[in-house]
């Protein structure tokens, strides 16, 4: 129980820290942040319209209030889900913009992350099971090599080869110009076609970390006394590999899962940009280049909270998988 309480405590504390961080970032610059932002917006070509001004004021709170009351107002707004109005997509609210983009990223990241984890863990376990064989060296060396490739570059190459040269897949976007989001078979197959290359870009490098982590952990667990004893007991090889090797070796990967999710979400910024994919990552980059601060702030907050929730879920799962932490983590 203590373990779960501690993890919940950590989750709440990090949540608060993320919200606070989000409050502090725009205020890091000297002077009145709203004025500074306005000054920078005015430096842009288009004139500042009143809507933008209102949006900034709303985001940053009234500048005559002190920092503490601003913080209080901000917390209230966050709790009520009021993140203001996007001014690059005026008059849409920030929340509406995020709601449109969220499913795209959720599906792309969710599917590729789970697939990467599954593929990586399986390959890593296979390499450990056949340690020092040809299979092992192919998997280990191959993944080490693939791991050095920058994946946004892989994305570019994928477009170059499969979209432009071979013309097998569309070169970008979430769906074709002829269709619009709807619950039809046509739309889904179209969206699927568009997501193959971005998913591939994430999937090529995605499993590398899991492969190496799983292999090393499992080589170690299979060398432990309990695995040797299992062999002495005459347990079938496969059973030893599963219950005495993989079952224990997978534990560190479970906690790694959430941390990797943070990295992968970062990766989606790159991949979605390359493929012009209508998800949160591209939206974030657009917000940054349009200086759409409310949208940018809210997006960062959402991503962070998403990762924190995933992290919390991974911790809870870990608690169920590893009987040792449930009781032992008193110190």
């Amino acid at each position: 129980m203590l373990y779960f309480l501690r993890r919940t405590g950590f989750f709440v504390a990090t949540l608060w820290a993320a919200v606070t961080l989000n409050f502090l970032i725009p205020r890091l610059q000297p002077g009145d942040p709203a004025q500074a932002l306005l000054a920078r917006l005015q430096g842009n070509t288009q004139a500042v319209n009143p809507a933008q001004l209102a949006a900034i004021r709303k985001m940053l709170g009234t500048h005559d209030g002190n920092l503490l009351s601003q913080y209080w107002d901000y917390l209230g707004a966050v709790v009520h889900g009021q993140f203001g109005v996007s001014y690059s997509y005026y008059p849409y609210s920030v929340t509406a913009m995020i709601a449109t983009a969220l499913p795209w990223t959720l599906i792309l990241v969710g599917v590729t992350q789970i697939a990467s984890f599954a593929i990586g863990t399986l390959l890593g376990a296979w390499a450990a099971y056949r340690r020092n064989s040809r299979v092992d060296s192919v998997i280990t060396l191959g993944s080490t090599f693939v791991g050095t490739l920058p994946f946004f570059w892989i994305g570019l190459l994928l477009i170059f080869v499969f979209a432009i040269t071979l013309n097998w897949f569309p070169d970008g976007g979430g769906y074709g110009g002829g269709s619009s989001p709807s619950w039809t078979w046509l739309f889904f197959s179209d969206a699927f076609q568009h997501s193959v290359l971005p998913a591939l870009a994430l999937l090529i490098t995605g499993p590398v970390g899991w492969i190496i982590g799983m292999r090393n952990n499992m080589v170690q667990t299979l060398g432990e006394d309990y695995a040797r004893l299992a062999r002495a007991k005459g347990l079938p090889r496969r059973r030893i590999a599963l219950t005495y090797g993989a079952r224990i070796a997978i534990l560190p990967n479970v906690t790694g899962f959430a941390i990797a999710l943070g990295g992968l979400l970062g990766g989606t910024v790159l991949v979605e940009t390359i493929f012009n994919y209508p998800g949160l990552g591209r939206l974030l980059l657009e917000a940054v280049s349009n200086k759409d601060y409310p949208l940018m702030q809210a997006l960062f907050l959402f991503t962070t909270i998403g990762v924190l929730i995933a992290n919390f879920l991974a911790d809870v799962t870990y608690g169920f998988l590893d009987p040792r932490v449930r009781r032992a983590e008193a110190t």
Partner: protein
């Protein structure tokens, strides 16, 4: 050093890295043109005059590639050193002092681990009033120390309970001396590996940010090259060399670090340090 040299993988990595350093130092000699000289025909394919073709603005791709090595190495070195220093300070303090200090610092370490780094970088870069290499380095450092700090904390926690630490206390050594002379030498390989990891992350992050167009447009880096190749239509004009070359050298630089990492574990192992 000799032990690192004897490891064939490590040796290959060191040679590769040395080559990159030489290229970066002598960029002006090696590159046929200046990186921003745009006197040539736009979007040309590879030729004798321009080995890797020219950009959409009429710059020589090969020259940009050579100068790009400078940016990557500087970012890797500076951001790597800075985040290793932060990681050491935080990790060593948390691990050696334990107690409340540890609780607080550990919380920040864990927070640093779960916050999605690239979006944070993007947001920080978006707010920054000026764009430049310095900013990129600061952003990368601020967001990249947590992992190293966690590992160093864990290591020091196991080291500080060793009997030889107690013995040093009984020999009258001060805490600072114990950390510097008894603990840190036993963490050398961890620190070096940590530095390499941080440098690697920094190089990748710089390329990513530059690719997104958030870098300094004045600096020539492999990330900005890819960004311009992507925007400049390298995909559609079939200029594969402009597209392939920056990614490939980036991969080679990362490979050299990875190869060196294989050999470094031997460094801390005193059994292998004889003769």
């Amino acid at each position: 050093m000799t032990i690192l040299w004897r490891n064939s993988k490590c040796r290959a990595g060191m040679i590769m890295l040395a080559a990159f350093i030489l290229i970066a130092v002598f960029a002006a000699v090696i590159a046929p043109y200046g990186p921003r000289v745009s006197d040539f025909g736009a979007s040309e394919g590879p030729s004798g005059a321009h080995w890797l073709g020219t950009t959409a603005r009429g710059e020589d791709v090969f020259s940009q590639l050579v100068y790009g090595a400078r940016t990557s190495l500087i970012v890797g070195l500076v951001a790597g050193v800075l985040s290793t220093l932060i990681a050491m300070a935080v990790g060593l303090t948390a691990g050696y002092l334990r107690g409340v200090v540890d609780e607080v610092l550990s919380f920040f370490i864990n927070l640093g681990l779960v916050v999605p780094v690239l979006p944070l970088m993007v947001v920080l870069a978006g707010y920054a009033p000026v764009k430049g290499l310095g900013l990129i380095i600061v952003v990368i450092t601020v967001t990249g120390w947590a992992y190293g700090a966690r590992i160093k904390r864990a290591q020091i926690i196991t080291l500080r309970t060793r009997d030889y630490i107690t013995a040093a206390k009984f020999a009258g050594d001060s805490t600072a001396r114990i950390i510097a002379f008894e603990i840190v030498p036993n963490m050398i390989s961890l620190i070096v590996v940590g530095f390499m990891g941080a440098a690697l992350g920094a190089i990748g992050a710089e390329a990513g940010l530059a690719f997104l167009g958030l870098g300094d447009p004045q600096t020539v880096s492999w990330g900005t090259m890819l960004n311009q190749a992507s925007l400049g239509g390298a995909l559609t004009t079939g200029q594969w060399a402009w597209l392939v070359a920056p990614g490939l050298v980036l991969a080679l630089l990362i490979t050299s670090f990875t190869l060196m990492n294989f050999g470094i574990d031997a460094l801390s192992n005193p059994h292998l340090r004889e003769d």
